[in-house]
Symmetry: C2
Subunit: 334 residues, 2 copies
């Protein structure tokens, strides 16, 4: 490609678009499962329960410590399949590119998608690209749809949750939200602050077949507290979190205290929240702690038969009601 | 929903987003196959060859005679499955909504998606919504991914095309491109000008099992001429179109002549281009002409072993080279 920046002409279906697809998308994503000539890709799902999900990605900035919008586009969708008990198999990729985006940056992002897909054992089998007139300076938005396969007998769902169940998280919360926010605002803060964006498949596979596993979710937008609210809404039960048990990395605590954020409401992109029957909770925790992805995993609370609330038991032993998020403090987080 | 217009807060993962999803998306798209609570949807593809495809939609204006961006989002993706020989089964839907879009218009568009999906026998099984900061005034962009199933023994592809094969179109070309362009530019022209946006599944099913069928494609962005160029590139053969045979509706001819457009390069959204072995061409044509969707179907040209070009044999019997589209005359067409 001769151009250094994407223009509207690259989206117009002619020769320039063909070069864009060949030299960036096809080059990085090439596999025997991607055919840029065909109208539709052949897939061959392994036997089992078939699952399908989709997500859109509008993170700002496009690149941040620990990842980029391409990383999120792959892991975000694959993780939704993983927490549903599936092994991800194939992805489709939609790119909405704003005119003016540098070709070099686009190339980096698509390379990142390819790398993340390979790490996760999935192939991008089909895609589409559109070029948008210069607008909010977003640069690029992605949408990915994934299909995967779960064991047919697997029973997971909020409806399985019972009073007495334990709530687990697979690692420290808020890393992603803080990393993106700092990259965006350029506070000039240094330290060990990076997004936790990663595939959660090793974590979900490690506990998926335990009979006491009720439900799993990845706590993205709105964080752990928002997952608790979703559970509360559907089950009608009370969710109780123990502040002293919720893992948060020290640098994240510091930044949150400085800037007035609550890590319980900040996005993670490589964590699992699981609800597990009490008799299996310690075993699930041990299974996670045995994995590099599960470093810092903890049992953080429990489900009780009580007034429908999300309660945080504070360090001092008091109780604080965690309200439902009205308006995310950090938009454009994923 | 109390708000008349979408704001950034609707995209931020909290209560307002939940209302947006429940009151617009879930309400119109509700089915026993759509579960807005689950991270991933269970699907159950019928036996056969599994196909997956995706497309993005950025048409301007959002609504036009004969359809809207919702209609396109469903039919565009389902038609890519249909021309690959598949029966579409399920869709996912990504919405990127620009702040300021009227709730009323969004509601109309989602209702249109629901209607088009029902007409095509597919369900929207999963979706995601993002709200973008005010930008180019696009209003909303959609991406849809579809999965479907084709007969396992079906052999379709550009590699099957041979010299002597006939080129067929299922109806008049250029309707969609002109309809959208007039709706956009408000030339104040009247008449029978509407997009041909529709499911092509009846057309593809009607000829899919004919042994002489080589290849099918839906001529969207860039029109019939662009499909011819794609075939030329891959096969290395010459594509010859007969101007007198290519169906174009009179109002489209008039507008094109007035404004300097060539209908061969204008998008269709409800047509099929098929390449058929000569011995089956008349039978395929008859099968199409027997359908309401196939009114105006015609054999428009043939594939020859000659210099790699796309040739238009003119009304006067001369030959004109049809160049590859560099830059679409009508951006934002689908």
């Amino acid at each position: 490609m001769q151009d250094t920046h994407i223009s509207l002409a690259h989206g117009n279906g002619g020769r320039l678009m063909r070069e864009l697809i060949d030299e960036i998308f096809a080059r990085h994503l090439a596999s025997d499962r991607l055919d840029v000539q065909a109208d539709a890709a052949v897939i061959e799902l392994p036997p089992g329960r078939q699952l399908m999900t989709t997500d859109g990605f509008t993170v700002q900035p496009l690149e941040f410590p620990g990842g980029d919008i391409g990383t999120l586009a792959v892991h975000g969708t694959c993780n939704d399949l993983a927490v549903s008990g599936a092994t991800p198999y194939a992805l489709t990729l939609n790119a909405f590119i704003e005119e003016g985006l540098s070709v070099e940056q686009l190339d980096r992002l698509v390379a990142s998608i390819a790398r993340s897909a390979a790490e996760s054992g999935v192939a991008v089998v089909a895609g589409d690209t559109k070029v948008l007139r210069r607008g909010e300076g977003g640069g690029v938005y992605f949408a990915t749809t994934g299909v995967g396969v779960a064991p047919p007998q697997l029973e997971l769902g909020m409806d399985r949750i019972r009073p007495g169940d334990r709530i687990l998280v697979s690692g420290p919360v808020g890393d992603h939200g803080i990393a993106v926010m700092l990259a965006r605002e350029e506070f000039g803060m240094r330290g060990d602050l990076a997004s936790d964006a990663a595939s959660v498949l090793p974590l979900t596979l490690a506990i998926r077949d335990m009979p006491g596993l009720r439900f799993m979710r990845d706590p993205t937008r709105g964080g752990l507290a928002t997952v608790m609210h979703e559970l509360m809404h559907v089950t009608g039960l009370q969710m109780r979190l123990e502040q002293l048990s919720v893992p948060v990395r020290d640098p994240v605590v510091s930044v949150c205290e400085m800037l007035g954020y609550d890590p319980l409401y900040l996005a993670c992109e490589g964590r699992v929240v699981a609800v597990v029957a009490p008799e299996d909770a310690e075993q699930a925790l041990a299974a996670w702690q045995a994995l590099p992805e599960g470093e810092g995993a903890a049992i953080v609370g429990s489900v009780v038969e009580d007034r429908q609330r999300v309660i945080l038991v504070t360090e001092l032993g008091g109780e604080r009601i965690l309200e439902e998020l009205e308006d995310d403090p950090l938009p454009r987080i994923c």
